[in-house]
């Protein structure tokens, strides 16, 4: 599903964010990305979502090489990937419901079908009652769950989560990890970056530990 071969990522100015990464994540697997901040976790996730391209080496996602993928092919790839951002990236000019509708509008789904799916996704993360609320009025944990609802609403094969429990207290974090666990159970490939020890012990899975851009 996701395959890294001798991947390097260098930024202009010489900073080397990733060094010689080679690993594979199989379909349906759940993997943690661990390491200190600045170790390259976010960069690695960005490569998978084709937000950035590797400097050298190959990143294969569902058979497509991110290094050489055409600009026009990126939207189709991203629709297969659910992105959960640390800063949520929610839109505050519309309701929670409309935020979740966005990926479906982009995908060109029928409106009635979309509305049904959006409500199902909101229900899944426990926010159905707040569908009309503006995201700005939601708590941090609720915003994170809304971001998850948006990421899963068009049923992507891969979910990438960047520090999803980073700013949350342990109750909220557990709630969110339970949601992830349930996706893992239905066959979604999950890559979760985290440095929360309690999450790793409570919900054990394979760990890819990064240190200064290299795999340990």
């Amino acid at each position: 599903m996701i395959q890294f071969n001798q991947v390097y990522k260098r930024y202009p100015g010489g900073h080397e964010a990733l060094r010689d990464l080679s690993f594979e994540i199989t379909e349906g697997e759940m993997v943690y990305l661990t390491g200190h901040s600045g170790a390259g976790k976010s960069t690695l996730l960005k490569l998978i979502a084709a937000i950035e391209r590797p400097t050298s080496g190959s990143v294969l996602v569902k058979g497509q090489n991110i290094r050489s993928i055409k600009r026009e092919a990126i939207p189709a790839l991203r629709r297969n990937i659910g992105l959960i951002f640390q800063d949520h990236k929610l839109l505050f000019d519309r309701s929670a419901f409309d935020n979740v509708m966005l990926p479906l509008q982009i995908g060109g789904f029928d409106h009635r079908e979309s509305a049904k799916r959006a409500r199902a996704a909101l229900d899944k993360v426990g926010l159905l009652a707040r569908e009309k609320a503006n995201p700005i009025s939601l708590s941090g944990g609720e915003q994170q769950r809304l971001c998850i609802a948006r990421a899963i609403v068009n049923r992507p094969a891969i979910l990438l989560a960047d520090e999803p429990t980073g700013n949350l207290d342990s109750d909220y974090a557990n709630e969110i990890m339970h949601i992830f666990k349930s996706f893992h159970q239905v066959g979604v490939t999950l890559v979760i970056s985290t440095h929360a020890e309690n999450v790793l012990t409570q919900f054990p899975a394979r760990e890819l530990h990064l240190k200064q851009g290299a795999l340990l």
């Binding site: 939207p75 189709a76 991203r78 966005l102 060109g108």
Partner: protein
């Protein structure tokens, strides 16, 4: 399947966005309308003047006046001779009696003419030459001048040529004005869309991250540019049509004093459709430039 519905959704959102900021919308539409109304107004004036010259003389002509006292047989002979000339298309005879009657009927001069005890007008021929360019006409005039039987040879087309030249100049001026103000329209739309993109930057970035194509992101802005341009076109149409209506009201009084029937032509359906279509297209184009430029800048790196 749902592409059509998607377009409808975007159209609805676009109209809502226009209505949501009525002041900005009104101002932009007005600026576009005024900018467009200038060349369109110029076009209306040109077209009206052009139709005036058409009314007066369809084709250029030369009038030859035969010496007073020439006998009827001689006049006919001259006519035949004119008709045989290879440079002449056709000839029209104007007998002096007919010319006199026409003159008596036509203008306020009839009072003066009525006092005349006898007809002072000569017999005349109106000559329609085959070649109607200025130099050919002039050489024909010079040739006819050498005929002994003619008192006076007059080339009636000189002023038509002059007017044509002025109209040509006017057309060029209107063309330049239209070109410049079209750029202004594109620039106005470009800027409006740029501001919108800045305020909707987050939305665009998020949409891109979750798999929106460039076309999807462009669409609402293109619709906006199109709608704004179209509304600007409607404003220009109203400005020009209103002005023509008002001016014609006063022109009517003015023209009747000079016994003329000059009035400004209103915009035809084809003209109106061209104006609206062009305005909408320019709005779309401005939006397209703007979005294309800014899509690259927003590109997640």
């Amino acid at each position: 399947m749902s592409t059509f519905i998607e377009h409808l959704r975007v159209l609805r959102a676009t109209l809502l966005r226009l209505l949501l900021t009525p002041n900005a919308t009104l101002l932009n539409v007005l600026i576009i309308g005024i900018a467009l109304s200038l060349p369109v107004g110029g076009y209306v004036i040109l077209k009206s003047v052009q139709s005036l010259t058409g009314q007066l003389t369809g084709t250029p002509q030369i009038s030859v006046f035969i010496k007073v006292g020439t006998g009827a047989g001689e006049v006919t002979r001259i006519g035949d001779k004119l008709k045989q000339n290879a440079k002449i298309e056709r000839v029209e005879f104007v007998p002096r009696d007919v010319a006199f009657k026409k003159l008596q009927q036509s203008t306020e001069l009839s009072d003066v003419i009525g006092d005349l005890s006898q007809n002072p007008l000569p017999d005349a021929y109106i000559v329609y030459p085959k070649a109607t360019d200025a130099s050919a006409m002039e050489s024909l005039r010079d040739e006819l001048k050498t005929w002994a039987q003619f008192d006076h040879v007059q080339l009636d087309s000189a002023w038509v040529h002059r007017l044509e030249a002025v109209l040509g100049f006017g057309r060029l001026a209107v063309g330049i004005l239209a070109g410049l103000l079209s750029f202004a329209l594109i620039a106005i739309t470009f800027n409006t869309i740029r501001l919108q993109i800045l305020t909707r930057r987050d939305e665009i970035e998020v949409a891109k991250l979750i798999g929106a194509t460039d076309a999807f992101i462009r669409r609402p802005f293109l619709y906006f540019g199109l709608a704004q341009g179209l509304l600007g076109g409607v404003a220009a149409w109203l400005i020009v049509s209103g002005s023509v209506f008002l001016l014609n009201h006063y022109l009517g009084d003015l023209a009747s004093v000079y016994a003329s029937e000059f009035s400004l032509l209103s915009l035809s359906i084809a003209d109106s459709a061209t104006l609206l279509g062009f305005a909408a297209y320019l709005g779309w184009l401005g939006a397209w430039f703007s979005v294309s430029q800014h899509l690259w800048q927003i590109e997640p790196r």
